[in-house]
Assembly symmetry: C2
């Protein structure tokens, strides 16, 4: 095994043929691709130009997705579900774009997605030594403060005064084993170009989510605009409708959001025994609430649609993670892996002196984690406040307070270099639905009261003697923050504007802020700082043993992952690696979630039913990879990643190549649907021209 | 330690003084009370007359609660939440008794609770040898069939043709280690006499549920009627408003529903790793759904109230159980306990030859349990069918089919002796709300589709190409089963009436029945029969080691449990064992769930604020004990059990006396409220006269 990270056991697959020689495991940083494996197994050695092109054609949506340029005119391909919030924001009660789809007939018709921003990674630089020096000798409180300081300092130096167009982030890899500065070009205006009907983009709904065979047209197009014109890029991936042969090498680039493969056993136990179940139960309840709300009418259905989908998706992931962590084989392997590394450390006196106590220190911090988790999650992470407008109010309150402090002493997300993007998001002209947000806020306040107890000081501060419903109604009906101009005025006015304002939502956010900050501070000093500092020691031991033959846990930063298109066996039957448009039509029953939009039914005769629609590959992806381009070694786009299958739901903790697969939309389906179903000839022309231009560029 | 069953570890209570010398652990059958402990620690030796009186004054509500006679005229005391369904059934859109309370001014005003039946245990007889002989040499399929046969035979003999007034049940104790025949007097008509407003009966709502200090008036009165007159009983418990001193012996009688303290480690792992989380997630979702539905209007609130409360209650229990099973100390103790018993078995060749393989056999059955659990739970237990009327339809379909078979070959719950009670329940004149039941059924069908997969044959059979919503609407809107007379006609008409009927709800129940029966059959032969047969061997080993110094897991059969009134320490503070009516008024905020009814507010001046309201004792209770009388050694009623505190939520798996407490309503509060708040002088007179009559009877 090349990788040191344990694979998930192939539970029900003992009868299958032996795994292939190479492993698709790994979400590799672009500075440390698995060169030996690529050369040995595929005869492929990507050069610097290849890496640079791949990096610069890849796009990160700050809302939590991946994407890529697909034309020199700034056209960006991502998933339909990644633009769901934008489609919802651009919809009205009279015109629900999730029902009608959106196709911009010309560039003038493209519509700005409020608050949506993207980034393109342009440079990475390791700063581990600098950060290590700044953190040296700190612990608890001083650790968190020192980390904030060095972060602000390094990011400010990288941004170099140009925060409007540059975004810099201190990136923590290997749970604190390495630090890097990533410099991004900010792509500040994204316009919606194309989004299918929800019924096509998420055909099969939550029922088919994380399932395969699959039949989803989960594709959408955005365009980056800059200074009133489409943005020009020298790097893009051209759609390659011929796709890729079974077994040939494919690569996904993008931002996997979060894996926990390097956690210690004690950390996994906290997740298994406490945290995941609590989170899942909360989401299940929210799901029930929103399900019923959507049934109350077309407008309610429209308002709650995006939130419900997100809750359902997260809930399925959590169910899969809970199942994975209750698999005793997985835990036995995790224990064995940890034992092996600890033995390696114990055998080396110098290493032992530094790192031997790390596992025990992390185990001891788990008691604090269990004790402080509820307050931190409810008050600071925001589980108590299921309302975008409340979170804007908090941003306004905090930004005013934080801007009055020196850069290095602020909460990390309010550092000088981060402010422009945060302001843009806070003042974006999103629609505000006070009744809907009052309902979700009332529910989350009630949930927080249950979790923390009705006598908790923070709950008393939030509710007084009122019910969650009364408080939520009061603040949502009276707030003026729904007006984006008012939010901009408050942001720009700083502490003076905030403190003289009597807006009830702002007042609520201000009233709870001391408690939220206290919960965060306790968490950072007693939990996070211990876990990060001790994991740095564990990482040092791992590097000493394995060299660079490892990849860091996912952190919503750019990675490349490698695999092949390949089916798998399930219940004794072979699952083919491709589905077709014809099969999608066959699966349509007319009843949601298997009801195809009228446009698809009407145009059925115009598309070749054998056109490939969805496909599976062995590539190691996870949430955040939604929208990732899947390319071949010639950098042609042969798939648009949008999901995993059920066997990959435990991927946060390990990788199973036997049956775990990622799922992508085939480029042939994208071109066919745009041409024949959505009748968007200009877009089809642009995509085809991009292919010609790209092929002229190829070396 | 007297008891062999492991206590839950007192996690956060290490600094407390040592536990008292006696242990309150144990839910004892009346044939095997802990005589030595009672004599040693309390100088108390209950004689046969004491036991007989306690047995015959105790009442079982077949809906799942406990209760007791409190007057010679058949007055029955139980919890307000135990009559919630009756109160709801007797309410209408224009008169919601959960809001107004119900007080029968005279016996003529008492109103029959539709479908509610009670039982009084009159005789128990051990039949272990007979059952063992019948089961001998059976396994799997033949085990389940043999058990059904011997059950029907023994019950029929006990009922002796008088099923209208006698109910007999074969009771399995010690997970199959003992079998008994319990003979009950059927109490077929219960009339509602008094129920408080929900806001008083469940003051504090779900938030205060399983919490203490507590301020709930969770009391209600029913009366048994027979042949058009109040039922006369020679055994009752008289309310003793002076209550009981701290530390003095108290006894609860009643029907604890289900504990799992004797399960093997492998069974506990199945619960921990799979079953409890799945059940909790389902309930959390249902809770969200019903929460939103209730918010839609007064009528919706009324219709969903009882279901929501039940879901919330079960959810809290499951959360507590999940927490308990993720406590590594508990699991370590369970492992050690199992190891000790296995070592004892291994040391005795004769015992080893019989029992040594039992644990491994049960462990192997867990794979079948995990594989078959979803189908069994969805289709047979009925998770897929969240609709009382669907379940009536199933009863009609099954009763017709089963009655055509010889008694010993039927599904167990359709044995000849069980039919009269089942018919009474099926044809009771309950209100039917088709839109509400369509909503809950649609939800549960959708949930089943998720769990089993949209391609599962049973799901295809249920839904065809329709949505769960469409199917549920179709059957609920068109069914004629809402009419109780129609259900009676169908029951009495048997197979002919059923098979010639075209009712869509009946058709749905009939269509899915083969799949449900198949799921049950697989479960019984591959899971249940193995677990029961092997546990009989484990029980034999335990009896060999411990004699009769043990109690069986709870099984909704009559038990006595012993303890004392005692507070406890929490977060370094002493929690007093009593709360008062005055404190309830202080806690009232005016906002639900802390809003007292108008009647309580208006009459505040008439009650002594120092009147005790709720109290805690160390008695070992669990769900099903709701409504249990708590009596002193003189058999005076000094409490009405209604809940446990949060530290007792893991009681299904072990007993912790350090902080775990049951919670009861004080009889002084019952009398004070009836007299001064509900102004029910006749009831107060009856309760006081019952006390005088009882004291004349005392030896």
């Amino acid at each position: 095994m090349r990788s040191l990270i344990l694979a998930l056991p192939a539970l029900a697959a003992l009868a299958l043929p032996a795994a292939p020689a190479y492993s698709a495991e790994g979400m590799w940083t672009l500075d440390n691709l698995p060169a030996a494996m690529l050369q040995r197994d595929f005869g492929f050695s990507p050069d610097a130009a290849w890496v640079r092109h791949v990096m610069q054609a890849s796009v990160r949506l700050e809302s939590g997705c991946s994407a890529s340029f697909v034309s020199p005119d700034g056209l960006v391909l991502t998933n339909s579900h990644c633009v769901r919030r934008c489609v919802s924001d651009l919809s009205t009660a009279r015109r629900d774009l999730t029902l009608t789809a959106f196709v911009a007939d010309s560039r003038d018709d493209e519509r700005t997605c409020p608050g949506l921003e993207a980034s393109r990674l342009v440079e990475t630089r390791e700063v581990t030594a600098t950060v290590r020096a700044a953190l040296d000798g700190t612990r608890g409180d001083t650790f968190a403060a020192a980390r904030s300081r060095i972060q602000a300092e390094l990011e400010a130096a990288c941004v170099a005064g140009d925060a409007d167009s540059v975004r810099c982030q201190l990136v923590e890899l290997y749970q604190g084993g390495q630090y890097w500065i990533y410099r991004y070009e900010r792509l500040r205006e994204l316009r919606l170009v194309f989004a299918p009907e929800e019924a096509a983009g998420s055909f099969g709904g939550d029922l088919d989510n994380f399932e395969f065979p699959r039949f989803s047209f989960d594709a959408a197009l955005l365009r980056v605009w800059k200074d009133g014109a489409p943005y020009r890029t020298g790097d893009w991936f051209a759609l390659h409708p011929a796709g890729i042969a079974e077994g040939a090498l494919v690569v996904a680039t993008g931002q996997p959001g979060r894996t926990r493969r390097l956690l210690t056993v004690s950390q996994l136990e906290t997740l298994r025994d406490v945290e995941l179940t609590a989170a899942a139960l909360r989401l299940a309840e929210l799901r029930g609430l929103l399900t019923r709300y959507r049934a109350e009418g077309a407008e309610q259905s429209r308002l709650a649609g995006a939130d419900l989908r997100r809750a359902e998706n997260q809930l399925k992931v959590l169910r899969g993670e809970i199942e994975a962590l209750h698999d005793s084989d997985l835990f036995a392997r995790k224990r064995a892996d940890e034992r092996a590394l600890r033995d390696f450390v114990a055998a080396d006196p110098a290493l032992a002196a530094r790192s031997a106590g790390a596992w025990e220190a992390i185990a001891q911090a788990q008691a604090a984690r269990r004790r402080l988790g509820a307050e931190y999650t409810q008050l600071e992470t925001g589980h108590a406040f299921a309302s975008p407008m409340f979170l804007h109010a908090r941003s306004l309150v905090r930004a005013a307070a934080e801007r009055a402090r020196p850069d290095g002493e602020r909460l990390r997300e309010y550092s000088e270099s981060a402010l422009p993007a945060l302001r843009q998001r806070t003042v974006a002209a999103i629609p505000f639905h006070p009744d809907y947000e009052a309902m979700t806020l009332a529910w989350s306040l009630g949930h927080a009261r249950e979790v923390l107890g009705s006598g908790h000081p923070a709950i008393r501060r939030l509710l007084g003697k009122d019910s969650p419903h009364a408080v939520a109604q009061r603040v949502m009906r009276a707030t003026g923050l729904g007006d984006a101009a008012e939010r901009a005025r408050l942001w720009d006015g700083g502490t003076e504007a905030i403190s003289s304002n009597r807006d009830p939502l702002l007042a609520l956010a201000a009233a709870i802020d001391p408690a939220a900050r206290a919960a965060r501070s306790a968490w950072e000093s007693q939990v996070e700082s211990v876990e990060v500092a001790q994991h740095a020691l564990i990482s040092a031991a791992r590097f000493a043993r394995d060299g660079d033959n490892a990849y860091p846990d996912a952190s919503f930063t750019l990675r490349a992952a490698f695999g092949v298109r390949r089916g798998y066996e399930e219940n004794g039957r072979e699952v083919a690696s491709l589905t077709t448009l014809g099969q999608m039509y066959e699966r349509a029953t007319g009843a949601a979630p298997f009801a195809l939009p009228a446009r698809w039914l009407n145009r059925r005769g115009t598309v070749d039913p054998s056109t490939p629609l969805n496909q599976v590959t062995t590539i190691d992806t996870i949430g955040g990879n939604s929208g990732s381009p899947i390319i071949d070694r010639q950098r042609r786009l042969v798939g648009l990643n949008f999901d995993r299958n059920r066997h990959a739901l435990g991927r946060a903790y390990g990788f199973d190549e036997t049956r775990g697969r990622n799922i992508s939309v085939h480029p042939a389906a994208i071109l066919a649907a745009l041409e024949h179903i959505y009748m968007a000839p200009a877009l089809v022309r642009e995509l085809r021209a991009a292919k010609k231009a790209a092929s002229r560029q190829e070396p």
